[in-house]
Symmetry: C2
Subunit: 332 residues, 2 copies
Amino acid sequence: MRARPTLEKVAARAGVSRATASRVVNGSTRVAPRIREAVNRAVEELGYVPNQAARSLVTQRADSIALVFPEPATRVFSDDPTFAGIIRGVSLEIEEADKQLVLMLTGPDGSYQRVERYATNGHVDGVIVASMHGTDPLPGILTRRGVPVVCGGRPSVPGDLRYVDMDNAGGAERAVRHLVERGRRRIATIAGPQDMIAGIDRLAGYRDVLRDSDHRSIVAVGDFTRESGAIAMRQLLADDPDLDAVFVANDLMALGALRTLGRAGRAVPGDVAVVGFDDIPAAAYAEPPLTTVRQPTVEMGRRLARMVLDPEDRAPVVLPTELVVRESTRRS
Amino acid sequence: MRARPTLEKVAARAGVSRATASRVVNGSTRVAPRIREAVNRAVEELGYVPNQAARSLVTQRADSIALVFPEPATRVFSDDPTFAGIIRGVSLEIEEADKQLVLMLTGPDGSYQRVERYATNGHVDGVIVASMHGTDPLPGILTRRGVPVVCGGRPSVPGDLRYVDMDNAGGAERAVRHLVERGRRRIATIAGPQDMIAGIDRLAGYRDVLRDSDHRSIVAVGDFTRESGAIAMRQLLADDPDLDAVFVANDLMALGALRTLGRAGRAVPGDVAVVGFDDIPAAAYAEPPLTTVRQPTVEMGRRLARMVLDPEDRAPVVLPTELVVRESTRRS
DNA sequence: GAGTCATGTGAGAGCGCTCTCACGAGCATC
DNA sequence: GATGCTCGTGAGAGCGCTCTCACATGACTC
């Protein structure tokens, strides 16, 4: 289709002024029924769709929101379904609000200034930052510039940034308590990176429970990749050959750990019980199926979107996590 | 947010007209060096960034392209890193062209008309459709409406649609030939859905090699999910208990198949060799590590983006796939 | 010294839309 | 019948930008 019809054409066809046509298109009530009908008919017949650029120009709204994945997230992006869940959730909510989703994956270089420029210039009504490190400067900068921002994950610097987070500490506590209840004595952990809030909080949850239950804590640190989980598990086994349980800060690392355990001849859950975190689809398909902590990723996306669309909504949200018990922690 | 400076302000500060300021901002060469410099300084000092809406309004370009995942893709989205790779690739290329990426995941309902309306109305310079079924009507509709479209995956109806595809048949052939060379006699396959081009082509590759090498073909069909792979494998085992190899049309199903084999007491690769397709990260971490066919997902994204940005480029692209040999087909 | 030409610059139109404001019609009030 | 409403409608300004066109300037030709 070449020439797209303009409001002018619609108005002409309906025999009204452009202003009235605009009123009908934008759903104003103060239009006489028969005129409204005439305009709607004209819209229908002409296949009219408003030109967003023209609209934005005058309303100063963009009717679109940006979802930014800073570089560290981008790196894990391809292998961690968590992000896919968040994207789905955001997309669903955005669609309901009849807005558009602009996805920005920032590269390793300074392409983050690109985001800054883009976002501070009215191209977008709000920005969702899937902040991995809680220390990312971007949310602060944008907020100061007056752009509505919401962080996915609690920023590590307490401030007035709005955020939606998972109950990481609570989930970790439940997971570790579960291991204690199953009679495990030497419970180690493979923690996530300690510059990410999820890594920090999950480790804190582990520590809290062990302290209260009088167990010793045994910690190795990974970076949330399978590979690092496998390596950390090896190290743990070397440090304490008698450990009989591991709480792993995410499923990807837990899968790596499972592999190391298998190769080291340790039976799971016979010799060692394993709990992961995230409940990615692969967890249920691990051998043995992995006990893990489920987090509502799609819901997180939805809440992020809803919050960014409502600048008044300032209350942080912490979404509940849930322990999913499978074979990897079966009573031995 | 303080009022963003307009071109007018920049021009005033630099002591030139709006037109000249515009020339400098848009990189016209026909501007005197010292004036160009003055304007650039003003831009710098004021922190000027062009208003995209205003620009689009007059240029009729949107400087953004849409990446559409039709519903079936959306469903697998969360668990198949293939899509993440494509998104990364598209994002990289789009970023280089200094344009924006609008992501649209269509829901199960008719939200696809939303895409149609959006795309046919100049909001977007082009559309990339990650067409799962080759029969999706969307690409055709948009093309006819004059919107540049590129399909990810060859459309099943031969026509003039532009596309970038993987060499599915070639990859499948190499995989099956590999099994033959390793001395496997009864080579089964778990095919993908036969309404998706990837499913069809991979099965065709399998059939071609077996026909030529005088093996019998044994086929079960899955839907590219782990679960369906596990089920299909059970069926295959029931159909032909003596099979000694399986070519599985994607890694997710292969992972499911591996699990079934393990539970059925079949050693891999001792009793049964397994080859997957995709080379997702989990494949290398399977037990045993999975021989599979690697496809360049990021490259596919890049090519899709490049093609959609250049409406003249009409030549279909078929990207090479590569066999990655791992433990699951070790010589027995 | 008049004519030609390339070159750089500014004036101004106009992209398609929203929104303010003024106005006329209809109705109730006094 | 004059006054004051409300209600629906149209005229018109203007959002920030690009781009065409006309114009000014200076270099060059004959």
